[in-house]
């Protein structure tokens, strides 16, 4: 998941327009926003729950709100952002549908990354070990990992369909650092994926 975080930054940077308004949900220490502010002159806002990470953001001069994403984004107005980023955070969210709805309420585009539970390695790990791989679990043991949602590419696509969300762009990460736009056997071969979404 940590490789997903940083590698995605380059792709997100390419997707985001100069001077855009960007909201980063679960912005951590503000690395992505810092990059986007320096390279793309974006107007950035971070949302983070961890106090130490908030302080890191403030030190970088990044505007940040200490908020639990699961509580909604009620403090933010409709369409007040061009891009709302949820990078490597979806799987830690209790109410993903609510959060995705909120993302597309406050922003024109949502950028969401997921780790594919259907990836062949993950399937094999369950088969051979009888438990979820550390790659999926990210950190911690079963009881204290932040990752509480396991989703496959197919399931995620179905959710988008159910919610009436359109996929504008996608990047699929396969083993050995290969990145595809239209990969074969998505559900089996894709480790992680990054989507740019909008409301229909």
């Amino acid at each position: 998941m940590s490789t997903l975080v940083t590698r995605n930054h380059a792709i997100i940077e390419a997707w985001v327009n100069n001077g855009a308004r960007v909201l980063d949900l679960g912005c951590g220490d503000g690395t992505l926003l810092d990059t986007l502010i320096r390279h793309k002159k974006v107007n950035g806002l971070g949302v983070e729950i961890d106090q130490d990470k908030i302080i890191s953001c403030l030190k970088k001069g990044i505007c940040v709100h200490q908020t639990d994403i699961d509580q909604g984004l009620s403090n933010l107005d409709d369409m007040s952002f061009d891009y709302v980023v949820l990078n490597a955070t979806l799987q830690a969210i209790h109410k993903p549908y609510k959060v995705m709805d909120e993302m597309l309420r406050v922003g024109r585009f949502a950028i969401i990354s997921i780790s594919n539970f259907g990836y062949v390695h993950n399937r094999m790990h369950v088969l051979t070990h009888g438990q979820v791989s550390e790659h999926i679990r990210f950190t911690g043991d079963w009881h204290d990992t932040p990752v509480i949602r396991f989703v496959s590419i197919t399931e995620f696509m179905r959710s988008l369909n159910d919610m009436g969300i359109a996929m504008m762009d996608a990047r699929y990460f396969l083993p050995f650092g290969r990145i595809f736009i239209h990969p074969p056997f998505k559900d089996l071969l894709v480790k992680e994926a990054l989507f740019r979404l909008s409301r229909g």
Binding site: L45, Q51, I54, I55, S56, C57, L58, K59, K60, G61, I62, C63, V64, H65, Q66, T67, N75, L76, D77
Partner: protein, 374 residues
């Protein structure tokens, strides 16, 4: 450790000062303290709360205890006096050197009492603007305060936006809720119900100590969280065996009694009435959107569009039920709508509203981080 000494200076303004209510003060004193040497980009204006004063940090030569925010202001502290120049002044209507109801009315030669005109938070910041001009300060790196100090910080930041690069608002609100007004009103009624108050004319006699101390006791209840009060005092008692059954016996009763008595020694009852009235009437959104905001000659109230490249920081405390985190988030929402890059953080603490004075650890890191980025 060697104590750094400071003293409160008085600036006398010998010309009329027009107030929000339309009335005019013929002359005025402004009490202030200044730590450091002002330059173009190092001045931070500190705003005090209801019972505070100009003495924010360090020691007066006759004191054992330092200024009210000494834990946050000083070398290496949140507001680092090695890097920044700090100014703090007593508010208009106060009783610690700045003109207030206890000051002498030049028209009568006696204390103003209730002849003192009603004052507003905006008047308080206008006075501070005057002070800054006299000190030759024409730009502020930041303006910061907690509780009523936070209200002043926001008002100053909006009224004189050309002067300020940023604001920090701690445990405060855009306007008082019904509950907040209610608590203040009970405090005021306690003072006015004291026969010694005598319609505000008590300066030659005994002041309404009983009423003022009850007002302060109510205040202290609201400054503490329920958990902290329980943990600190619980149901423990002292002096259980007393002839008068209504003498304080519980520890909490003694604590409030002590706070009440300590307060009447240092605070004026009429100031309490005037300042709490100013707090209750404060309504930032109405005040910055009303046509009156540019009233007055040479006041230089800024255009609201000037707020754009500026920054704000709002801090709340989880157990603060007097100024709850929800009110802090309202502040953030408004300033973001005004295009001020406003950050929000909520400190986890059991210390209630008083946390802005006591919980300096995390607050220090947050404030230092914020100031360092500018």
């Amino acid at each position: 450790m060697e104590r750094t000494l400071t003293r409160t200076e008085i600036l006398h303004i010998d010309r009329p000062f027009k107030l929000d209510c339309g009335e005019t003060l013929p002359e005025m004193d402004i009490a202030y303290e200044l730590y450091g040497t002002p330059s173009n980009d190092n001045v931070i204006l500190i705003e005090h709360a209801l019972s505070g004063d100009a003495h924010a940090a360090f020691y007066h030569s006759d004191e054992d205890k330092p200024g009210w925010w000494d834990a946050m202001i000083g070398p290496g502290k949140a507001f680092d006096t090695d890097r920044y120049c700090i100014v703090c002044s007593n508010v208009l209507g106060g009783c610690k050197g700045t003109t207030g109801p206890a000051s002498i009315n030049p028209a009568t030669g006696k204390p103003y009492g209730l002849d003192f005109p009603p004052i507003s938070i905006r008047d308080m910041v206008d006075v501070q603007r005057t002070l800054l001009s006299h000190l030759g300060i024409e730009s502020l790196k930041c303006i910061a305060g907690g509780s009523m100090g936070g209200m002043q910080a926001m008002q100053f930041f909006c009224d004189y936006s050309k002067l300020c690069a940023s604001f920090i608002c701690i445990a405060s609100a855009l306007k008082h809720s019904a509950q907040q007004i209610a608590f203040n009103e009970v405090g005021r009624r306690a003072i006015m119900a004291d026969p010694r108050w005598n319609e505000g004319r008590y300066y030659e006699k005994v002041s309404p100590e009983a009423g003022l101390s009850v007002a302060r006791m109510i205040g202290h209840i609201t400054y503490m969280s329920e958990n902290l009060m329980q943990e600190k005092f619980g149901r423990s008692r002292k002096d259980r065996h007393t002839s008068n059954i209504f003498r304080p016996t519980f520890e909490i009763e003694h604590y409030l009694d002590y706070q009440g008595i300590a307060f009447v020694k240092r605070f004026d009852a009429n100031s309490y009435l005037y300042i709490t009235n100013a707090i209750d009437n404060f309504d930032l959104i109405t005040s910055i959107s009303s046509s009156g905001r540019t009233r007055g000659v040479g006041r230089g109230r800024g255009d609201i569009r000037d707020l754009r490249p500026k920054k704000g920081l709002v801090i709340t405390f989880t157990s603060d039920w007097l100024y709850p985190p929800s009110q802090g988030r309202e502040i953030v929402k408004i300033f973001n709508a005004l295009n001020v890059q406003t950050s929000y953080t909520q400190i986890n603490t059991e210390h209630g509203h008083d946390a802005f004075l006591t919980d300096v650890g995390t607050q220090t890191e947050i404030v230092r981080g914020f100031l360092a980025s500018m």
